[in-house]
Structures are given as structure tokens and as C-alpha cells.
């Protein structure tokens, strides 16, 4: 007994060290994506307040950039409006226009932005009270941004393309072949598109858009363009995609509300 006590006394620091390390490693291993999202939701409630204050200052400094972005977006929208109104004039009845609206957008701001980690998360300043819920898609005027992971009353966390847990069904705009877009954790400017079979003809600069296979994003939201591709793994291409969204200066985003998401999910779940 005494030797045991002496042993503990002698190695107490080592034992404490091992205990704490085991605790930390357990946290890491147990920290699956789901628990991580809960943890983040908790920490966002704590730190959301602080970040909001800081954001007030940052907002002031970036007013000029935001202005320029808004002007660009305005022009873009006006152009599109022109196109649409000419279509309407020629009495084409579009299915999407005929019924109720299928999608609507919630304007939001990024209040916390970390992009140089492996598992990056962004925080938005809109939450449940403004109609932002889990599994909604997020876009900016540059392109696709990510998916809402969790939302509290007034904040939401967003899992962007540049998070190693992120997966998106995306296709090549010209020929409609769909693959899976993921991030390789190296540069926030590039992602990787896989599972495009070898017989598809590709060329650098081809646009990659969302496939619309999930209920999260509408079809055809621009993601990026092909920067380079190779056929190293046999039957499938490894495509490096340059992302349109520049996460370094991302500020204003839109959250997509799909009014028929529930309907689609319910129908799809019938056969599972």
C-alpha cells in the first residue's frame, strides 16, 4: 500500500499530464461532426455577442468595399431583370414563375470568419427568428458559399465549402455530368471535384455549378471553374476547381429558403 502511495506521489505530475491528455484526445475523437456542431452552437451563443461588437467596427472599415460589391450586384440584377422582362413580353409562361415562389432569400452578414483552419466555420448574424434553419443553402453574389449547420435565435453557423466535412453534388455546366465537390484543406481558393468518369471531355475554364440533386441548392448556382485536371486514379478525374467565392473578403451573403424542401424530403423518404 505504501509503495503504491509513494508511486502516486512520485509520478503524480506525469499521471495528471496523462489524464488531461487522454481527456483532450477523447474530446478530439468523440468530437464527431454532430457533436462539434452542438459545441459550436454553444460557443457561438457565448462569443456571438463579442463578435457582434467587433463586427460593428469592422463593418465601418469595409463600407467602401461593400458599396462597390453592391453596385456590381445591382448592375448584374438589372441586367437579369431586363432579360426576364423581355421573356415575359414574348408571353412565355415559365413554370417557375407561374406558381408560388419556390425560393426566397434572407439577407445576412458574416460576423465571424475563419478560413485558415482545416474545419472552418462562419457565423451569420441571422438565426431562427429571421427564418434561418439547419440545412439551408448559402450563396453570395460571387457564388456558392456553404450550408447552414445550426442556428440559434439570432445567429447561425455555416459550414463553408472550405471545411473538410463539406460535400456538395456539383456538375459541369456544359455537359451536365455530376460529381462530388470537396475541399482538400490546402488553399481557400481551390476545391476538388471527384467522381467525374474518364470518358467525359473537359477543358480548363469550364464552369462548375450546383447539380440541384439535393433540396438545399437550386440547380445551376455557380461554384467555380476548372483550373486543372488529371486522371491519376484510373477511372475518375481529379479536378481542381478554382472557387468563385473569395472567402477572404466575404461579407454579405444570402440564405436560400426552399419552400418545397420539406415536400421533396418527405417524398424521398417514402422509399428509404
Amino acid at each position: 500500500m505504501r509503495t503504491l502511495l509513494r508511486f502516486f506521489q512520485k509520478y503524480s505530475n506525469l499521471l495528471l499530464f496523462l489524464l488531461l491528455e487522454i481527456l483532450a484526445i477523447t474530446l478530439i475523437i468523440q468530437g464527431s461532426s454532430f457533436q462539434r456542431s452542438k459545441l459550436i452552437a454553444l460557443n457561438r451563443q457565448v462569443s456571438g455577442f463579442v463578435y457582434n461588437k467587433v463586427d460593428g467596427a469592422r463593418e465601418y472599415f469595409s463600407l467602401k468595399d461593400v458599396n462597390e460589391q453592391l453596385v456590381e450586384e445591382n448592375t448584374e440584377l438589372r441586367n437579369r431583370l431586363d432579360q426576364i422582362s423581355s421573356l415575359l413580353d414574348s408571353a412565355t409562361v415559365l413554370n417557375e414563375v407561374k406558381g408560388e415562389h419556390r425560393y426566397s432569400f434572407v439577407q445576412s452578414r458574416i460576423v465571424n470568419n475563419n478560413i485558415y483552419k482545416q474545419y472552418n466555420y462562419l457565423t451569420l448574424n441571422k438565426g431562427k427568428e429571421q427564418g434561418v434553419f439547419r440545412n439551408m443553402g448559402v450563396i453570395s453574389d460571387q457564388g456558392l458559399v456553404g450550408i447552414i449547420l445550426e442556428s440559434s435565435a439570432n445567429f447561425a453557423t455555416l459550414i463553408p465549402i472550405i471545411n473538410r466535412d463539406f460535400k456538395l453534388s456539383a456538375k459541369i455546366k456544359t455537359n451536365n455530368y455530376a460529381g462530388i465537390l470537396q475541399w482538400d484543406g490546402i488553399s481557400p481558393r481551390f476545391a476538388v471535384l471527384t467522381e467525374i468518369p474518364f470518358h467525359v471531355s473537359l477543358s480548363e475554364g469550364d464552369t462548375i455549378v450546383s447539380s440541384g440533386f439535393s433540396s438545399i441548392f437550386p440547380e445551376g448556382i455557380e461554384v467555380g471553374k476548372i483550373e486543372s485536371f488529371s486522371l491519376e486514379k484510373g477511372n475518375f478525374y481529379d479536378i481542381r476547381v478554382e472557387l468563385f467565392t473569395n472567402f477572404q473578403n466575404l461579407y454579405q451573403v444570402n440564405v436560400i429558403r426552399n419552400y418545397r424542401q420539406e415536400e421533396q424530403l418527405n417524398l424521398e423518404n417514402l422509399h428509404r
Binding site: L27, G31, I115, Q118, P188
Partner: protein
């Protein structure tokens, strides 16, 4: 009592500085400054080891809460809190550390502080970055991130000695 209060104050300050300022410094994905471990680096020499370990745990855990990472900062901080006393022993001047002094440039000079900081920062960054990636794929790109970030963190910490913790 005074020392404890000062250390708690420093704990809060380094965390806030890291989260509010340093985490917004984005030079490139290869250079991320982590200076909050300054708290562990500056702890007094005679701090009991178990206090160092628990402080390291608390520091890492708080950081994890703010960055939303599970346990990675905690593991790295506990590791350096454990290794620090051995490092201090290894780097001790011939006559040992004098009482009433702290591990700072002001007392032990630039070269000593640089050696001490580089070792602690390097160990912390090695643990943190590899835990974050959690795979050996891209071993060398991670190593490059570790080395570049170590350079950046160390220079920031050493500079802080001249501007903030002058005596």
C-alpha cells in the same frame, strides 16, 4: 495573491487578444499566429507543476470553445505545460534561476528567451497542426505550415516582450 490575480488577468487578456485580433490576422493559410501560449511561457518559475498542467488545460479548453475545435488546443497546451519545466531545466543558466525573476527577456536576455520560446512554440504548433489535420497525407505541407507559423508566432511573442511586458 498579487501574482495569482495578475496571471488570471493575463489569461483573459491573451485569450481575448488571440480571438479578437490574432485570429483575424490572415496572411496566408501557411502562417497563423498563435500567441495565446504566451500565458504558459510567462508563468513564474516556481509555479507548482500541477498548477501549470491545469492552467494549460484551462487555457486550451477556453481556446477550443472560442474556435469551435474539440480538444485540439487543449491537447497541445497540456503538452507544452508538461514539457515547460524540463525545458527550463535544460536551458537554465549556470547559477540557476534567481528568485524574484520571471522567464522574460528583461531578466535572461534575448538569446535565452528566443531559444526557450522557439522550442515551446514549435512543440505546440507541431501538436496542434497535426491534430487538426489528423492524417499523414500532406505531411510536408503541414510541416511547412508548422515551421512558417512558428516563425510568425515566435517573432510576435518576442516583440511583445519589448512593447507590453517590458519589465
Amino acid at each position: 495573491m498579487y501574482i495569482i490575480a495578475r496571471n488570471i488577468f493575463r489569461f483573459v487578456v491573451v485569450i481575448l487578444f488571440q480571438v479578437l485580433v490574432m485570429d483575424n490576422v490572415m496572411i496566408s493559410g501557411y502562417m497563423i499566429p498563435y500567441i495565446y501560449i504566451l500565458f504558459i511561457i510567462l508563468m513564474p518559475f516556481e509555479t507548482p507543476r500541477w498548477v501549470q498542467l491545469l492552467s494549460g488545460f484551462a487555457l486550451g479548453f477556453t481556446m477550443d470553445l472560442f474556435t469551435g475545435t474539440p480538444g485540439m488546443h487543449t491537447a497541445a497546451c497540456v503538452l507544452i505545460a508538461f514539457i515547460r519545466p524540463y525545458m527550463l531545466e535544460l536551458l537554465a543558466p549556470r547559477d540557476g534561476y534567481e528568485p524574484e525573476t520571471y522567464p522574460r527577456i528583461h531578466y535572461y536576455g534575448f538569446i535565452w528567451f528566443l531559444k526557450y520560446t522557439v522550442i515551446i512554440v514549435l512543440i505546440h504548433h507541431l501538436a496542434l497542426f497535426y491534430l487538426e489535420v489528423f492524417q499523414l497525407k500532406g505531411f510536408f505541407s503541414t510541416l511547412l505550415r508548422v515551421i512558417l507559423s512558428t516563425i510568425l508566432s515566435t517573432s510576435t511573442i518576442v516583440l511583445s516582450q519589448y512593447f507590453v511586458f517590458r519589465k
